[in-house]
């Protein structure tokens, strides 16, 4: 706990990451407490469709006269939930793959890494689209698809960490006391490999939100009427002449969220690099 506050404190010294933390805190609070706010993302008012920002509708209204601000706030819920689900899927499979591969080596390592290479070689969005073509459109399908594309990053980072820690004295000590391989991997090595994993979690959040929005924009993400930023951009694009702010404002919120996660991820990376050799993947080139 103390360590977490220490890192947060060091993040807040940098103006860029302080702004990013502040912005994400607002987005997260809005997503969590959306039900307590005077917002309704579903109420239609066809008399007020496609209006620009006004005192009543701060972000304007969409083609059904729904309040865009309400939909942006509830869309934050969709985005953050998908990101959380995707990170969970990626970590759940990626971390054990990396631990087992790095700990045992040999054929197990070779087989697992070949699998990871194949996943890594596939363009993420193509893979996610194929998976959704099979599973159908839903939030669960979206986060499973996005999560699977995140497995290689976790597996590689954890494997590198495990290889580095495998021969350290404290691991050998546990072994000589008769600690099982499972105990050694999950209770001895994993707790010592947390910092690059943490960086990867943050970086993957930005990738997952971007990918979820891209899928929704392509019309294969979360099914309507669930509010989603990508879906709003998709519909807003049809009304660029009538209501330019429709696509503009959700896009700003989406972009700032992605950039905030990316900024924090990179700041964390360079902060923690002083303490450990992290070797994390960067956000570049993984998504669309």
């Amino acid at each position: 706990m103390k360590a977490a506050f220490g890192i947060l404190g060091r993040l807040m010294i940098r103006p860029g990451s302080a702004l990013a933390v502040l912005f994400l805190t607002i987005i997260a609070l809005a997503a969590i407490f959306a039900d307590l706010l005077p917002l309704d993302p579903f109420r239609q008012n066809l008399l007020h469709s496609l209006e620009g920002p006004s005192a009543q509708y701060w972000f304007g209204t969409d083609e059904l006269g729904r309040d865009i601000l309400s939909r942006v706030v509830y869309g934050a819920r969709t985005s953050l939930l998908t990101a959380a689900g995707a990170v969970a899927v990626a970590a759940l499979f990626g971390i054990p793959i990396g631990l087992i591969g790095g700990f045992f080596g040999g054929w197990r390592d070779a087989a697992l890494m070949r699998f990871v290479d194949v996943l890594l070689a596939l363009p993420a969005i193509l893979f996610a689209m194929a998976l959704i073509a099979v599973l159908g459109r839903s939030q669960v399908a979206a986060f499973i698809a996005v999560g699977i594309t995140g497995i290689p990053a976790f597996a590689r980072i954890v494997r590198a960490q495990t290889l580095a820690l495998r021969k350290r004295d404290f691991v050998t000590a546990v072994e000589s006391f008769g600690g099982s391989s499972g105990y050694n991997m999950f209770r001895t090595i994993l707790p010592n490999a947390w910092s690059p994993i943490l960086v990867q979690v943050v970086v993957l959040c930005s990738i997952a939100i971007l990918l979820e929005a891209a899928l929704a924009f392509l019309g294969v993400g979360v099914a309507p009427p669930t509010p989603s930023w990508g879906e709003m951009l998709r519909t807003g694009k049809s009304y660029l002449y009538e209501a330019p702010t429709y696509a503009l404002l959700p896009g700003i919120v989406l972009t700032l969220t992605i950039l905030s996660f990316d900024t924090i991820g990179r700041a964390l990376g360079s902060l923690l690099e002083d303490r450990h050799d992290t070797g994390t993947a960067t956000a570049g080139g993984v998504t669309s």
Partner: protein, 315 residues
């Protein structure tokens, strides 16, 4: 060298077989299996029996796969459920449009990415370097589809210079119209790719700048321009070629999204249409063709790399 190319080709075989099994198995992973994929969920038992017989779905699974794979090898992916046209023909109609976009976007990416990388690598740590590194972060972080929307708002809605939806015009038929239609999609995709390019090329340049031959060149009194563009670039571009594969993955994803933004009639849009109409033969054909293109380009790059750099051990 010939041996190396042969070995690389042989290594591709398991990858392509695995990919083909994955793509083929899609139909069988659909809830209800391939029959439901063909006739939908509300079919009568008679329809189901007829489809099962017609498509040979009562044969052993391995036979079904080999049959499908054999046809796919010679480019026969079957007929689209929707338009009843051969899948390969539909893909062939869309491929030139996507290639136009790819070439145009690559030119934009090189024009933007190389100067940004060179300028920031030559002055590491300065304000200019920080601003230009911010450019890479922005190019990668701003969603491609939103950048496309912004460009449409500016150049089509406000200024009315360019069309908001881009059609496909072959460049050899009407160069001006082709450029008008390609400009916004190419910038949208090119900016994204330039972000990847600039980030990696800068890293590569910074490493090379510390090399002895750069100091020698400077000591000889060569002009900085010549050092950068003649001596440095040749060496810095080499490690850079290895990330072309990574760029390709981003490129494909970006192209699918860009085509959707500008309703551009390319391969990516064909795939999206196929997915929304659950046209499985078309989905399989599109994904396989994209994967084969992707693998082929990666292979070409690897071979070129070994050819250009004699230090690479390609035994």
């Amino acid at each position: 060298m010939t041996g190396y190319i042969l070995r690389r080709l042989l290594q591709l075989i398991p990858v392509l077989i695995l990919a083909s099994i994955g793509v083929w198995a899609m139909m069988y992973a659909v809830p209800g299996g391939p029959v439901a994929a063909i006739v939908g969920d509300n079919a009568t038992p008679e329809q189901i029996a007829a489809v099962t017989r017609q498509y040979g779905l009562d044969r052993p699974i391995a036979v079904q796969y080999l049959d499908w794979f054999g046809s796919a090898l010679v480019g026969d992916f079957g007929e689209s459920y929707y338009s009843r046209a051969p899948v390969l023909q539909l893909i062939g109609e869309r491929l030139p449009a996507t290639l136009h976009l790819a070439v145009a976007a690559t030119i934009v990416a090189l024009l933007l990415g190389i100067p940004v990388a060179v300028a920031s690598a030559l002055r590491p740590g300065t304000l200019l370097d920080r601003i230009l590194s911010g450019w890479s972060a922005l190019a990668l972080g701003v969603p491609t589809f939103w950048l496309g929307i912004l460009l449409i708002l500016l150049f089509a809605v406000e200024l009315r210079w360019l069309p908001s939806a881009s059609g496909y015009v072959p460049i050899w038929e009407d160069p001006l119209q082709a450029l008008r239609n390609l400009a916004l999609p190419a910038i949208t995709l090119g900016v994204y790719v330039s972000g990847i390019l600039a980030r990696f090329l800068r890293a590569s340049l910074v490493t090379e700048l510390r090399a002895d031959y750069v100091r020698t060149a400077r000591a000889k009194g060569l002009p900085e321009r010549q050092i950068v563009w003649v001596h440095l670039m040749r060496n810095a571009l080499l490690p850079f070629i290895t990330i072309v594969g990574l760029m390709m993955a981003g490129f494909i994803g970006g192209a699918v999204v860009t085509e959707a933004v500008f309703t551009y009639p390319g391969l990516g849009r064909l795939l999206i249409q196929a997915i929304s109409s659950r046209d499985y033969p078309l989905i399989q054909g599109c994904i396989l063709v994209i994967l084969v293109l992707y693998v082929a380009i990666n292979l070409t790059v690897d071979v070129l790399y070994a050819y250009i750099d004699p230090r690479i051990d390609y035994r």
